[in-house]
């Protein structure tokens, strides 16, 4: 994995955090995945250890859950 991945679900909390995170670490260093639109990537997010969105998975595999937009269970629905 070459860079961090920011998973979100399009909620207001997610969009605000996305702007902040992309601004902090730079657009070229983070892939943004909208789990509401890319439901085939939900299992990948779960395997990475994501419990809620928005969340950032780092290159070292650490997961940073940022604020609270929605649980991963809500995203599946």
């Amino acid at each position: 994995m070459a860079k961090a991945i920011f998973y979100h679900a399009g909620c207001p909390v997610c969009v605000s955090a996305e702007h902040d995170i992309v601004g902090l670490i730079g657009e070229s260093k983070v892939e943004v995945v909208h789990l509401g639109e890319a439901k085939d990537r939900i299992s990948e997010a779960e395997k990475a250890g994501i419990k809620s969105v928005p969340a950032l998975v780092l290159e070292n595999g650490n997961v940073l859950h940022i604020n609270f937009g929605a649980s991963i269970e809500e995203v599946k629905a």
Copy 2:
């Protein structure tokens, strides 16, 4: 405020998140405040909108609560 401030309380979740955040945005761009040691800064953190630590306050005033180490009430104790 010239840069972001990362507030934590020395707990394992905080220390892990601190390493990740400092690594992401660079040591020169973030001030790290240990609220367990700097209890005089708890009120400043509360005014910024911090509900739990670890948390990152950005230059624009946005608060990113990262994972969950302890509530701000627990830090006061």
